[in-house]
Structure formats: C-alpha cells, structure tokens
C-alpha cells in the first residue's frame, strides 16, 4: 500500500467499525510516549543520534506486520510535500510538531491506519492507536501488545521510581495519554459545557475542542483526556476517564431528550435548515460547515434524517480541512477558493449518499 492510498482515503478504514456508544463517542485514542535508553531526546537538538534512531526504526519495522496490524509503512517527513504533510496532520496520524522535523522525523502507519508510530517527535517514539466508539480498555490492551513488540527490539528508558522517562515531565510515568472524541451538541446548545469543563478539570482530566482555537469547539467535537501520568496505573487512568465519559454521554442524552421535548419542532427546523445549507450552498466557510455538519449528525442520531451514514460528520470534518481540499482540488487554493471547493465537496458527498 502506498502513501498515496493513505492520503486518498480521508476516512481511515477503522472508523467504520462501530464500537460502544458511537452515537456520541466518535473515537477512543491511546498514546504511549517511549524513549530509547542512552540516546539524547529529540528535544536536545543533537541530530546525529536521532538519525540513527530513524535508520534503526526503518530497518526493524518498515514493512512489518504485527498481529492484525498489517504492513507498517514508514514515511520520512523529508520525503513528504507540504500538502501530504497537512493531510496526515488533518487525519491525526502525525502532529504538526513532527511535520517540522525535516531531518530525523518519520512515521510508521499500519495499513488500516489504526496504529501510527511517530519517530523523533518530542519523544523518540510515540505510539498511537485509535478505536471507534468508546473502547479505551481494548485500545490500551492492544497498545500494550504493540509496545511489547517494539520493546522486544529496543531498550526503553525506564526508571523504577519514575517509570517511562519522557522528554516532557508532564508525560513521565506511564507515558499514557488516553483521549476520547465526543460529539456534544445538546450540552453545548444548552450552555452546560461551560459549567462541566471546570468540574472535569478538577478531576485531573482535560476537555478541549478538537478543531478551532481556544475554548471554541468546531462541530461541537470535544476531546476529553487524562492529564496525570504519574502515580496512577494505566488501568486507573482508563477507569477514571471512562467513568467521566459515561457521565457526559448520559448528560448529553438527557439534554437531547429535554430539547426535543421542549422545542422539538424548532430543533427539527434548525437541523433541516443546516441540511439545506450544506446541500445547496456554493460558498461555505469551515466554521459554518462544521456547525451544519454537527446539526446533520444530530438529526441522524435523532432519526430525523435517514439514509446518511453516521460517519459523515467525522469524515467531512477531515475532508473540508485546507490540506484535504487542496489535495482534492489537485492544486493550491486561496482561502476564498477553498470556501467554494468546500461547498462543492460537501454537495458531492451528500449526493453520493442520496444515490446509494
């Protein structure tokens, strides 16, 4: 499988596989930060040893298969053009930080894009695994298996007291960042997120918008993740996060019911108007597109709009980002050209659904 294939399919194959509570939880992610012993961290700026790390990773893991994860392909940052890099960032397969490491940065991606291993990001290795819906336990178990596989070929930097040693002290210990992507339109509409977020922060967890800047959450998509990595086992971290996520799911469901009860027809009107905008607009900015996509998704969840795939929200949120739009247009686009292309792409995508 070539890199082109990764980039051509906006929607990673794993995303279609369902998972628990997938009307509200779009995906679960586990990230493990790992470093090699006796090699300076990527943050040290000492390039030579890092290039050796890259060479070693390429030799040992490029083209390898582990259990269900077939054919890991290594892509060097220096071999990617700017659009390809953006596309990988928009798919969350690499970080913007890694994309800047032209000398020793690389990423290993499994064929189904469920697993990506960033090489020489802030840490030597950052293993990421995604599952659809709420499946943190399964994700962490699988991440551990892959971790053990990598460790069978590499000596990790580990200390009995401090655990896995990472370049940033905020990751030391388990090196684990567990996160869940949630679609919370009703909690946002009813202004409850503003009260909920500080409460969640008190529990050592963080909530932020996935797209958009600051407190703004484009598409009503939020990421909930753990902050603390030291002094808690991976199981505890997962349990704490899962219980908070379950509460959020519960509140979101109740809020949806409440809105439908209180002002069903107004909500229905609002959601269908958004459908109308996306089906007909000729120019659309990403903020409006995100809002309308969130509305369509909610209408699908409520059973008002039928025959459209649920993944349309996640899919089009990725597809309408600047990198993908330019990839789709096969040329560079100015912001105003992007708005035209975005509207066109969304219309085409919706027509595709109607024809099915």
């Amino acid at each position: 499988m070539s890199l082109q294939d990764f980039i051509d399919d906006a929607i990673s194959p794993w995303l279609n596989d369902g998972g628990e509570d997938n009307d509200i939880v779009l995906s679960s992610r586990i990230r493990l930060a790992r470093n090699l012993d006796k090699v300076p961290f990527p943050t040290s700026g000492k390039e030579e040893p890092l290039e050796k790390v890259l060479e070693y990773m390429e030799e040992e893991f490029n083209g390898q298969t582990f259990n269900g994860f077939k054919d890991f392909q290594l892509a060097k940052i220096s071999d990617l053009d700017p659009v390809e890099k953006r596309v990988l960032i928009e798919k969350h397969l690499i970080s913007p930080n890694l994309a800047e490491n032209e000398r020793s940065g690389a990423v290993l991606i499994s064929k189904n894009e469920q697993v990506s291993i960033m090489v020489n990001e802030e840490d030597h290795l950052r293993l990421q695994i995604y599952y659809p819906g709420l499946q943190l336990k399964k994700a962490v178990d699988t991440a551990f298996e892959i971790d053990d596989w990598i460790e069978s070929k590499i000596g990790y930097a580990f200390d009995e007291g401090k655990g896995y040693l990472t370049s940033c002290p905020t990751n030391v210990g388990t090196g684990l960042r567990a996160s869940v992507m949630m679609h919370l339109p009703a909690l946002t509409m009813t202004n409850q997120m503003n009260q909920i977020v500080p409460e969640i922060n008190k529990l050592g967890l963080v909530v932020r918008g996935i797209y958009g800047e600051g407190s703004e959450a484009l598409g009503n998509l939020y990421q909930v993740s753990n902050q603390v990595t030291l002094g808690k086992s991976e199981e505890e971290i997962i349990q704490d996060l899962t219980s908070v996520v379950r509460e959020l799911i519960d509140s979101e469901r109740k809020s949806r019911e409440w809105i439908v009860q209180q002002s069903g027809i107004q909500l229905e009107d609002k959601l269908f108007r958004s459908y109308g905008i996306l089906s007909n607009s000729r120019i659309i900015q990403s903020k409006e597109a995100s809002k309308c996509l969130s509305d369509i998704r909610l209408a699908i969840d409520l059973g008002w709009i039928k025959g459209i795939s649920k993944t349309i929200l996640n899919e089009l949120m990725v597809l309408t980002q600047p990198g993908f739009l330019q990839h789709y247009a096969k040329k560079g686009l100015s912001p105003s050209e992007r708005d035209v292309f975005r509207a066109k792409l969304i219309r085409e995508r919706l027509t595709l659904e109607e024809e099915k």
Binding site: P169, G173, L230, G231
Partner: protein, 179 residues
Amino acid sequence: MECQRCHENTASVHYTQVINGKKDEVHLCEKCAEKEGYMDFSNQHLSMHQFLTSMVPLDSAFNKSQSIKPETTTQCDYCGMTYGEFRRKGKFGCSHCYESFSSYLTPLLKRVHSGNTEHVGKIPKRIGGNLHKQREVENLRAKLQEAIQTEAFEEAATIRDQINQLKQELEEERKGGEA
C-alpha cells in the same frame, strides 16, 4: 562578530530582548557587557553556558544583579543540559537528566501530577525481573485491605494465599540468585 560597543574585541555575549514584540539584539565582548551592566563578571569568570543559564528567570523577571543560584548550573553528566536550560525549555535533554536533576524534580512532578511522584503502572518486560512480582504483591495487598474492609473474608483469604505464593516465589528467586 565584533563587539558593538568597542568595535575591538570579538563579541562573546549575545543578548536578545523582546519588549512589546520589538526585538533587540545586543552583541558585546565580555568587558563591554560588564560595563553595560548585562552581567556582573567581577567575582568569577563565567563560562558561556553558565552565563546563559544565569539569565533564566527563576523567580520573577530577569534581574541582572541576581547572583547565580547553584541549581541553574547543575548539569546532566550525560547530555550536558543544565537545570537552568531545562527550566527554560521545560523539556529534558535525555533520560539521564531525571537522575542528574533528581533533587529538584520532586516539587515539579508533584505540581504536574496531582501530588504523585512514584510510577505504579506498566513495567518493561526486559527490565522488569522480579519487579513485576513485587508490584503485584503491592496491588494484592491493597485489594486485601479493601476486601477486609468490606468484610469479604472469603475473597480476602484467596488474596492472602496469592500473596504468600508470590512472596515464596520471590524468596526462591532471591536464594537462587545468591547460589
């Protein structure tokens, strides 16, 4: 590069100042830097490295008369990073930094990790050895305590047997190691 002030000596002190987004660069030789008040060199001769780390604002704003605190110059013997540099970047240079700076890290880790300083999670297979078993004993002890508190005595008995079994194994391994 020559010194901007005397235009004679080589500039060895480079100082960048950003005020309200306006960037100013100053390049001076040691003597002029001292005269200009960028650094007090009178007491001791400082290496470039120490000079840079002394600029790290440890408490509040940069204070030119502030004497160098010993912790800023503590250096990692493996990668050469100083504690001051770490404070400035917020990132370590290598895994050995943890040990080199260990005496300063506890308060920082406590702040970042809700008061925790000890790892209790996964252990690499390769390093593990009997650490895995020790950890399990600790976990089981906590479970035992919980079982006793909730008066689940049958469960407690099972856990106690498991602990004893593990302890015995650890004891045997230790003896085996000595022989």
